[in-house]
């Protein structure tokens, strides 16, 4: 041993540098093939169909262009100027805000209330959960059409209900002051079950001994909810609100069968506005400007919200 060490010591200074250079890490072997095999497909797809289009949207938004040939008619920020002077777009912005507000003020409390009832083993809990979640798995288009029927002034449930109690038939989707609220109702109907499931998952992952400890400490039912359950569900609530925001910003599929953005643009959202004024009229530059604004709002919301509210989650 001592001998081996001694000979080594004399050899070391010469070879140390060379050896360090030659040394390849064992785990590095085989890395290249796996990277070459596993990454490019995702990278190409993502770049080609997500990143480049987004970059192009920014580029096209500075032009007036019908999508054929090359964009040549440079308008600088003209598209944006027009956009922010358009009443319909401002309505769309307002509507998106309203949807977020309703989600937070109505949908999430409703979901939370139901979750506290259904998170534990009471008879029938599973069935109720299924029923409440069902609208969420239906397509927005189908939900929109179903509610188009419900709200229909001639054949729908609202009309029949109004007849029964003898009031004049409301044409809710045709009334520009009412239509957006009718849509908000559909949104709550379709999405509260999803939030409820999030809360149930959150409640079930909670340590129930904590609730029992609170009970032993003498907390009443409401106090237990207010001071124990709710704070412990904090991260789920913040996540839930995040999904409500993201969902609202992309709302399109449901509006189309219900109102298509009408009457007189009163139910436009940003995406239906983009579709109506950008896609339908093939105004690539203007539509892209809407896309850019939507992108900026999405990213700011996502970043801002995560930074401010979900820092510790």
């Amino acid at each position: 041993m001592a001998h081996a060490q001694a000979t080594f010591a004399t050899r070391r200074p010469i070879s140390a540098v060379a050896r360090r250079k030659a040394r390849r890490s064992v785990s590095a072997r085989g890395r290249l093939p796996v990277l070459v095999l596993f990454l490019p497909a995702a990278l190409i797809l993502f770049t080609l169909f997500v990143i480049l289009p987004m970059g192009e949207a920014a580029w096209y938004s500075l032009y007036r262009w019908n999508g054929y040939g090359q964009p040549t008619e440079f308008r600088a920020l003209g598209n944006f100027q027009v956009l922010f002077n358009q009443a319909a777009f401002l309505t769309a912005l307002k509507n998106n805000g309203l949807i977020i507000l309703i989600s937070i003020a109505v949908q999430i409390p409703l979901a939370l209330w139901l979750a506290t009832m259904l998170a534990y083993r009471i008879p029938g809990a599973v069935t109720f959960r299924l029923i409440f979640f069902l609208p969420y798995v239906l397509a927005d288009v189908a939900a929109g059409l179903i509610w188009r029927f419900v709200y229909d002034g001639d054949y729908g449930l609202f009309a029949a209900a109004a007849n029964m109690i003898g009031v004049p038939t409301p044409y809710v989707l045709a009334d520009r002051h009412v239509a957006i609220y009718a849509i908000l109702g559909v949104i709550v109907w379709k999405y509260f079950g999803f939030h409820m499931m999030l809360f149930i998952a959150g409640l079930q992952s909670m340590d129930r001994h904590v609730l029992e400890a609170a009970e032993i400490d003498g907390a009443t039912g409401w106090q237990r909810f207010r001071y124990v359950t709710l704070p412990m569900l904090g991260s789920t609530v913040r996540l839930s609100i995040f999904f409500a925001i993201v969902g609202s910003l992309q709302l399109f599929d449901m509006i189309m069968p219900l109102t298509g953005g009408g009457p007189s643009n009163s139910t436009q959202t940003m995406v239906t506005f983009l579709y109506t004024y950008g896609v339908m009229r093939m105004q690539v530059g203007f539509g892209s400007a809407v896309g850019v604004v939507l992108f900026i709002i999405c990213v700011t919301m996502a970043f801002g919200y995560k930074r401010i509210f979900m820092r510790n989650d």
Partner: protein, 282 residues
Amino acid sequence: MTDASSGRRVGAGTRLYLYISLTVIAALVLLPLVTTALGGFKSLGDLRVNPFGLPNEWHVENYTDILFGQRYWRQMANSLIIALLTVFLTLVVSATAAFAFAHVRFFGSGALLNYFLIGLMFPAATAILPLFIRIRDLGLLDTYWGVVLPQVAFGLGMSILLFRNYFRSLPSELFDAAFVDGCGYIRFFWYISLPLARPMIATVAIISFVGSWNSYILPLIMLNTETRYPWPLGIMVYRGEFNTDWQLILAFITLTILPTIIAFFLAQKHIIAGLTAGAVKS
């Protein structure tokens, strides 16, 4: 309500209040669906005077006409093809990429992962016009791939993140043991990671299938031949054609959402877990 949450000693009064609330809400949730399905059996006149009740006369032909026609089945088939292509491509592309992010250390891996996560922040709608032009220029307009490729691409951020987190949650000693047993990265992926990731494969498959099955805006923009329409587009066309023949529209709606509802009740556990846990875990 929190008496229920501790699961014991629920008084009769509380219990009554609890079940009444639940039943009322459940009725409100189901009412539109049930009246839709029943409405499909009515005549238009019957629907007008009696939208809530059972049909006076069961017009089964509203349904059978659709079922014996081509249109409904063609739309279902289109939706199914698009959804299956989307699921398959999503799984292959995202599981492999996620594996690289989870287990292979390489320069810039963090930055590259963040690059993919940009996709989580905005919907396809923001870039829909340039996307249309790209698909057109690639000659993919009015093909299934024109819908599938953007759909997969926009789902990549979420599915890569889900897979990566899952791969990372596997105990690292498993990786060591496989390495000692003679696995390289690729064999480890094939023999260990992938079989163990079956729950996550199911989750990602469900998320991308449901997303594709229900999607509207991408096919709306990329497809223009009616024979290639998936059902959400098809049903809108149908509604446009039959305009106020609500009984036919309702029957058509019922039949189009029926597969979803059946699948939901057959695989409720997996679907609920997939759609919510998927959201939470990313």
